[in-house]
Symmetry: C2
Subunit: 556 residues, 2 copies
């Protein structure tokens, strides 16, 4: 019973000593990655860097106990940080106490939404965000995040709009304002991280760069020349506090909370599934929602900010040998030790280094290759990618993903409202009935038309169907028999049922016999509910086209 | 060429003398119905009664020239009037000059939206409003309209909220405020209309009641006792004026304009199609949009208010013998004559009579039988009816229909994301493959599983499919061959394609051969775009289950 609700009750008592070395190593490496990343992402979210460390303690511990993924590394991530900044900065000034308390309320709301979704088994909702939407959105968000770091990288402060295009323009215009030493530090950091990563992905490149640059700034006293540094990072663990509740603020933050709850879960579940598939164990999406939700709720009482499972950090955790969630517990302990004893070491850390870490991390998320790939398979999927991508860049990140989801679902519905009707003939080559537009050799039967309907029938395509069949009846004057091949009709609703009755009545009034072949059981049930068995005198329901043909021909 | 754009160029030159008597009679009867109805609906819309007459002139003439329906009676209707009141009364006080000028701007916008939709051939959009949504919405709107007339019927003025429930409560609370003579007039009017209608639907019951009650009030000077009367109705034709344009107001009115444009078109096209089907001629939905749009644009320059094709009036027009749009032209001429010479006759018309006309008209729109019918065919359709109905009553009319449309589309998408997978066996009775859950006699083949996938495959159901197939692989350890019956797969998108590749790779890694039978050409195309032909070494694509069975068995 306990095991059903607490996955840790499964792995913790059965912990194998063999797994310990991998977990220890991975836990240590992830912590070393998490310290600079957490601070960088907190800065990206408009929060003091130490909040990123707070977010790497309680939530990690909660997820380790409740999560079904063994290698997922939960904590601050770039995308969620950007969403927090974009949403909350419209209500309060980033960095202020008001801003921080709004972020805590937001985190609590995200947690509750995820928890409730998990308990109600609504995890499938993220499936409505298609791969094309995710990829287009991620690429655009990566560009927005990257550009948002240009001020730290170049050592000036953006004064104008936070629109990504205007920021690019501003960067070019203010080329004279660039603080050269800051830019030097940022550029060298980027180069160093890339080169070190090329050597081996296990090298903690960001931490090495952080250490080198702290020593560099400290030894030359560069902060006196105008290099922005992190400054005082308060020592000690986050204290317990209850997020301030207000109905008005909850109303204002709700759309943002829903967006982050879904996008955060989506990023997390994608990574968790990928690793689980390789390691052959099972992820339960609804339990993942419960785990992430509880992690966010817990964090909101300890000065954290919204967390989720991160892509790159989980990959490092996995590659470094993590076998169980113990690795994450070890990471959390190391972060706690850092908060207790080592925060002053980060005093001289330049903001440009944090910007460099973010830039390298998000660069890999820009994926134009995926767009090309999608276009090659289907122009519609490619168009959805492009719509989401440009919508996100131009309209904003929340609007962009909404536009993408709406567009991809709308395309589906519009497509299904113009179903393909295939006229079939008998193909001797394949000994089967084939679309005569595809196989012109397929033979038609005199006086008979066989139509395969390639869609489920429902209210949105019923009028189109009526129109098509009315047009066909006018054209085919010498046809005496129509067979509807229902193999592709996976369901039918009340409106379409009525249309079908009218279509058949119309044909029969013109002395054309109509039969249905290959009807599925679910469709037959609906017909019976509408009393077709009683209403129709002649047999109309045949197991195959051949049987329908024989029956119609002998009847006449 | 002219005939393509101007349907009147088709019927007018070929007008048959035989049609004239029917058109004359119908035109006269509809006009006699339109005079009290137009005034009543204008009052419902929060406008002076004469506006209802103005709306029965220019728009009727324009529709008669451009419309493809020969019997549709365009003009003021209850549903659109209610929508106008509900929307515009939140911006301006009903009856004021500001209110009237807002309604004219709204009418112009509705016209332009319908015209543009027609020109862009977007008429199919109304198909997304399912029958269940229309019926649930209409029933709720009828109740709202009915209750909104209680003040005129009972002779007091609503003081509280315009929520339908609160109005019912208020009516009960203010039972002492009821003006008995007004209520007497209203109640007798309702009874008279119902009784006269029962005699024959061709009797112009509303007009008779109007005449009787005008004489009654006038002769006894009842307006001095507190019976509200229509009062001065200005004589003369509506004058030409250009609606006042303002970007801000256009922005505010846009959602309302879109709603009315769609709902108005929907009501109109439903009626036009019903009559056209009986009379065996063709309605072109996009031309209907152009005709209604132009009628609304034209009306907005002549002090009218939004119009569409009305249900009950069109039925009367048809039953009274209308053969061509000439009937509507005749109605318009009679209304124009009324405006010129007879407006003062309506001075003593009691508001309670107009309320009675509205109440009888909308009572027939409440359709609980349809709800029962829908529930009997499909619980989901019934639930959509109930959702739209209660949403409209509780949340409001625009919100209600939006909720209904969203719910019906969402249900479709959610349903399609959990596709039914049928395991098939060979049924000797029907000489065909059947779902073994439906036909337990159907025989399975040893070592082989045949799965029919009853859905098109796309991003929202791909994860479910992966999960199902992964679960199945774990269960079926002694299975060596899996045949996927793709007859129900009408299309596949890039995400599902990738899932399918992964599912097959997974099975093949476990030494299970996978083949696809009955693949449709559109699906095969996508597979080829993804280079399946090159990627996969073994044959996987078979025209039928038998062929797949033979091939897999000989391969092994």
């Amino acid at each position: 019973m306990l095991k059903r609700f607490l996955p840790a009750a499964e792995w913790l008592p059965n912990y194998k000593r063999d797994d310990l070395s991998g977990d220890l190593q991975a836990g240590f490496i992830v912590a070393i990655m998490l310290i600079p990343q957490g601070m960088a992402y907190a800065m990206l979210a408009g929060l003091p860097p130490v909040v990123g460390l707070y977010a790497s303690t309680i939530p990690l511990i909660i997820y380790a106990l409740l999560g079904t993924s063994r290698q997922l590394s939960v904590g601050p991530v770039a995308m969620v940080s950007l969403l927090v900044l974009a949403g909350v900065s419209t209500i309060a000034e980033p960095g202020t106490d008001e801003y921080i308390s709004l972020v805590l309320l937001l985190m609590l709301m995200i947690g509750i939404i995820q928890l409730v979704m998990g308990l109600c088994k609504l995890g499938f909702i993220v499936n409505f965000i298609s791969h094309a939407v995710i990829s287009g959105f991620t690429s655009a968000a990566a560009i927005i995040i990257g550009v948002s770091q240009f001020d730290h990288l170049f050592g000036f402060e953006f004064a104008g709009s936070d629109n990504v295009f205007l920021r690019l323009v501003e960067t070019v215009q203010r080329i004279g304002d660039i603080h050269l030493i800051s830019f030097f530090i940022g550029a060298v950091s980027i180069l160093l991280i890339i080169l070190l990563k090329k050597q081996s992905p296990k090298i903690p490149a960001p931490l090495i760069v952080v250490v080198v640059m702290i020593l560099f700034v400290n030894s030359l006293n560069l902060h006196h020349t105008g290099v922005d540094i992190v400054g005082n990072v308060p020592a000690g663990l986050p204290s317990f506090s209850v997020p301030e509740l207000s109905f008005e603020l909850i109303g204002t933050l709700l759309p943002l909370a829903v967006t982050i709850a879904l996008i955060g879960f989506m990023e997390s579940i994608a990574m968790a599934k990928m690793i689980a598939a390789k390691e052959k164990y099972k992820i339960t999406p609804n339990k993942e929602l419960i785990a992430l939700g509880t992690a966010n709720i817990g964090g909101s009482f300890f000065s954290a900010y919204p967390v989720t499972g991160g892509f790159s950090r989980s990959a490092v955790n996995y590659q470094s040998g993590a076998k169980t969630p113990l690795a994450s517990l070890i990471s959390a302990v190391i972060i706690i030790l850092t908060l207790l004893f080592f925060t002053e070491w980060f005093y001289f850390l330049p903001n440009a280094v944090l910007a460099a870490i973010i830039l390298v991390a998000v660069y890999n998320l820009i994926d134009f290759k995926e767009m090309k790939h999608l276009f090659s398979i289907s122009r519609i999927d490619g168009a959805v990618w492009l719509t989401t991508f440009s919508g996100t860049l131009i309209l904003g990140i929340e609007e962009g993903i909404l536009l993408g989801v709406a567009a991809s679902l709308l395309i589906l519905i519009v497509k299904s409202s113009f179903p393909y009707l295939a006229e079939l003939g008998f193909s001797k080559d394949s000994a089967n009935y084939k679309d005569i537009r595809v196989d012109p050799q397929a033979e038609k039967y005199p006086g008979t038309v066989i139509i395969r309907i390639d869609a489920s029938l429902y209210f949105a395509n019923a009028p189109y169907l009526e129109e098509k069949f009315a047009g066909m009846r006018a054209e085919l004057s010498n046809v005496k028999r129509v067979i509807l091949d229902f193999r592709g009709v996976n369901y039918i609703d009340a409106t379409a049922l009525q249309s079908l009755e009218e279509i058949i009545a119309d044909y029969e009034a013109a002395d054309v016999a109509v039969a249905i072949a290959n009807m599925k059981e679910t469709v037959r049930k609906k017909l019976n509910h509408a009393s077709w068995e009683q209403k129709r005198r002649q047999a109309y329901d045949f197991a195959s086209i051949e049987q329908a043909l024989t029956a119609l021909e002998t009847n006449q």
